[in-house]
Amino acid sequence: NAGVTQTPKFRVLKTGQSMTLLCAQDMNHEYMYWYRQDPGMGLRLIHYSVGEGTTAKGEVPDGYNVSRLKKQNFLLGLESAAPSQTSVYFCASREEFGTSRPQHFGDGTRLSIL
């Protein structure tokens, strides 16, 4: 059981380049999330999805886009990368029902923008 898998685990980009981070979960979870983690700031929510075909903005959505075309996948895109987007990105998922159940996290993607 893989749980939540993030691809890639590490990437270096130049300013202005674009890329997509992939999150895949095999637990049939309805809710999926993208967070970024910066030193001293904890995890901040970028975008989230409450089901296939839906997306919503979190705390820090600017500069990012997301898509959830399939229930098991949640993609995070950077159209024109900026140095301020250098961070560690985490994907998470959870079931819809039984809301006391915790989120399951991927292992993170370290992204550096030069």
Binding site: G42, S100, D107, G108
Partner: protein, 114 residues
């Protein structure tokens, strides 16, 4: 909007002793869930313990327990018989019973001294 505050950026404890990590939160909601996550250097996000706000009894998981004070909006984590493997960043998190957004505190780095 809900906020979570961890006022201790760093803590240290001697192996086998007890340490308490503080967390306060701000919300106008009455039904919510609180979590403590552990993040070791491997970067994984590991659930330590969770508390439902409607439950008066404090949650306990082996050496980990919480002191949940709903009126004071306080949710501290006590680690008993500290072990070297407990060294990590600890995050307090809040989630409303309505909706799925998990709000994190800034984190506390725990050092365990042998």
């Amino acid at each position: 909007a809900q906020t979570v505050t961890q006022s201790q950026p760093e803590m240290s404890v001697q192996e086998a002793e007890t340490v308490t990590l503080s967390c306060t939160y701000d919300t106008s909601e009455s039904d919510y869930y609180l979590f403590w996550y552990k993040q070791p250097p491997s970067r994984q996000m590991i659930l330590v313990i969770r508390q439902e706000a409607y439950k008066q009894q404090n949650a306990t998981e082996n050496r980990f327990s919480v002191n949940f004070q709903k009126a004071a909006k306080s949710f501290s984590l006590k680690i008993s018989d500290s072990q070297l493997g407990d060294a990590a960043m600890y995050f307090c998190a809040y989630r409303s019973a309505i909706g799925g957004k998990l709000i994190f505190g800034q984190g506390t780095t725990l050092q365990v001294k042998p």
